[in-house]
Subunit: 398 residues, 2 copies
């Protein structure tokens, strides 16, 4: 039978990271491609302890039964406290939705707001999975330029006027893929501009707790006076990605709409996942574990920056992030990292081509994203040397 | 700010069951409203044992890390065996997608196939959450009449010719809400008719293992020769609803499309949920636990049928299912169970109005769905007596 798919499927391919994830069954390949937390940061003992306690509790049957779509009430209460750490001080449980990972928060927000053809503004470059989700709603993504402070405010206003977008999506702290952070002033200006023009903002915040340098910057949501910012955070990078939990924080009206959308997608986030996150936060494990993780990621980032200095061609330019998981790099024009990728895999090292992070990818084949959280120091050294050798060879032939 | 929602939100309200679920914080209310498994059937000790083993395993870090979107390979292999119990003997892992509950299987199937305005055929009446999910894709649902054998085949063919539908959705075994089962002949005829006209079928199968009377009937998917049937099954009713796991089985091409759609919704089903289902199946716990559960549900159903005979007005007509979780009933015209619902809640007993299960609900306010799996025998007796008294009073005033 020839299947007659929905029109959304025409532009929907597997995301590059997910597809490369499949290739990495070979443990000999050093991967800078994904966004996996370090194995040594995953709280195996904590979760073992928590699940033993939860499964021994007399009320464990409740965990195996259906739960509320918005999430366990005690977890939602805990998340009211959690978002305070992002400067959101006035939330109540009605502002909180438990989500099955940050990905679902984005999906539910677009489901709530986007009709086919609606324009969504994104930073140039932006999180590739966002572009895929936007495609699934047949949104039209338009890129906004960025500078060292964050979004280019003139370009943002011009694009708002030109495209009348429904939503602006951004990752203001340790952006994926660039690792850059918007200043507090830039955030405030974005919050004001979008409110003025009635544009919704999805503030995606999976990385802000992973700061190894520089000063804390409050979330854009904490500067939201119009109710137009949807804050989405995830426990994937700071507790466990395999546990698939996160939090959305917005006005009660929006949270209610997103909850109704969630009824039809997964009914509710698995209860044991919710209990693990709840107990992890309640028992105060996040702070001490973050302290260790931030040290580990800071060291890994330094290791990669150093290896880049030592081995990559001098024409290679890259970011120097204060936190998060990624370094973003640029080769001279003429280097096509997509074409070179199979050779890298032959040399047993993987990266992600930067082009997949652009709403309009033409002419971006010289960009690359490198993840430093997953590989160990020796692998980072070896892998970057392999890449350095490969790209030096390619540059010599230009 | 006045929010400018997507057009899909206009017809999207919380499902009646989910909303009533919220009301039932009061433990004094006897609920026949939901579809919760019996507390005593939830495998608390099994899951305690499994999580202790999984969290003690040296490879536990893998469970906390990101997983593949299609699911753990060992679980997919196990599910190849599982679907054989529904008569699907030729599946390989490429036919299998791990899903976050049956709900997600429906959602991903519609995401893959449905454009706004596409027609979907459903049984009259059908699963209310399906209607909600269809609304979220702005599909137009049209009801097909049913008889004692299953779908009315003449009406099905007429509706296919009239509406040119993309999908037929049905729950052929112990249907929600009616509890009825399609015969093998009826299934075969549906598979052939839909294949002939190029209509996709979603065969939703959460209840077939809960048979306490009568003969096993193979799934419609096992009769699919054209590749047009998407089989969706759930472990919610037979292992744990709170664990949110299920399986979709279709051609590799469709499974791949649904996998890509899943990337953008929850990335993957939580790994611990997957491991619990995997170990539960692998350790052979399903068969013995089902044997006990089926006995319990058979007793509860008998208890409810008996109470209905003793207490409900004699004008009340209802089904006599061989399995599943529901009895479907009908009062004489003039009885509006929606209007009467608040009085039932005052008397501390809850049900679901039947109208929410109809694609075209006009004139269906005299139908009611009663769940017998959750309440205990004493509650069933007391609750049905309360309903009987209430409806006798209403009938007397007609």
């Amino acid at each position: 039978m020839n299947y007659n798919y929905a029109s959304r499927m025409a532009n929907l391919n597997g995301t590059a990271t997910r597809e490369i994830f499949k290739l990495l069954g070979n443990p000999e390949i050093i991967s800078f491609a994904g966004g996996n937390p370090a194995i040594e940061c995953l709280p195996t003992e904590r979760v073992k302890e928590i699940t033993a306690d939860v499964t021994s509790s007399p009320s464990f049957a409740r965990v195996l039964q259906y739960g509320l779509t918005a999430g366990f009430p005690e977890l939602r209460n805990q998340l009211v406290e959690y978002v305070k750490s992002a400067g959101i001080s006035d939330a109540t449980v009605d502002n909180i939705l438990v989500i099955s990972g940050g990905q679902q928060g984005i999906d539910l927000a677009l489901k709530t707001f986007i009709n086919p053809g609606d324009v969504v503004l994104v930073e140039n470059p932006t999180y590739l999975a966002f572009l895929q989700i936007a495609n699934s709603y047949e949104a039209v993504c338009k890129g906004v330029n960025a500078n060292d402070d964050g979004l280019d405010l003139e370009d943002l206003e011009a694009k708002i006027k030109k495209h009348n977008p429904k939503i602006l999506y951004c990752v203001p702290t340790f952006s994926n893929p660039t690792g850059k952070t918007y200043t507090a002033e830039n955030r405030k200006a974005i919050a004001e501009l979008t409110a003025k023009y009635g544009v919704m903002v999805i503030e995606d915040d999976p990385y802000s707790k992973l700061r190894f340098k520089g000063e804390y910057v409050p979330s854009m949501k904490s500067m939201d006076t119009a109710g137009n910012v949807i804050f989405v955070s995830s426990f994937s990078k700071i507790v466990s990605p395999g546990n698939r939990t996160g939090v959305a924080c917005a006005t009660p009206e929006i949270i209610r709409k997103m909850e109704i959308c969630k009824q039809g997608t997964d009914l509710h986030t698995p209860n044991l996942s919710q209990m693990i996150t709840y107990e992890y936060l309640k028992r105060g494990y996040l702070e001490p574990d973050l302290e260790k993780a931030v040290k580990i990621y800071g060291d890994k980032k330094a290791c990669m920056s150093n290896a880049i200095k030592n081995y990559m061609p001098e024409e290679f330019e890259c970011t120097d992030p204060d936190g998060g998981l990624f370094i973003w790099g640029k080769f001279p024009k003429g280097i096509d990292v997509i074409k070179i990728f199979p050779e890298a895999i032959e040399k047993k090292v993987a990266y992600i081509q930067g082009s997949v992070f652009f709403a309009e990818p033409e002419g971006t084949e010289n960009y690359i994203r490198l993840n430093y959280s997953y590989a160990n120091a020796e692998q980072i050294e070896t892998g970057i040397k392999r890449l350095g050798d490969l790209f030096k060879e390619k540059l010599a032939k230009l």
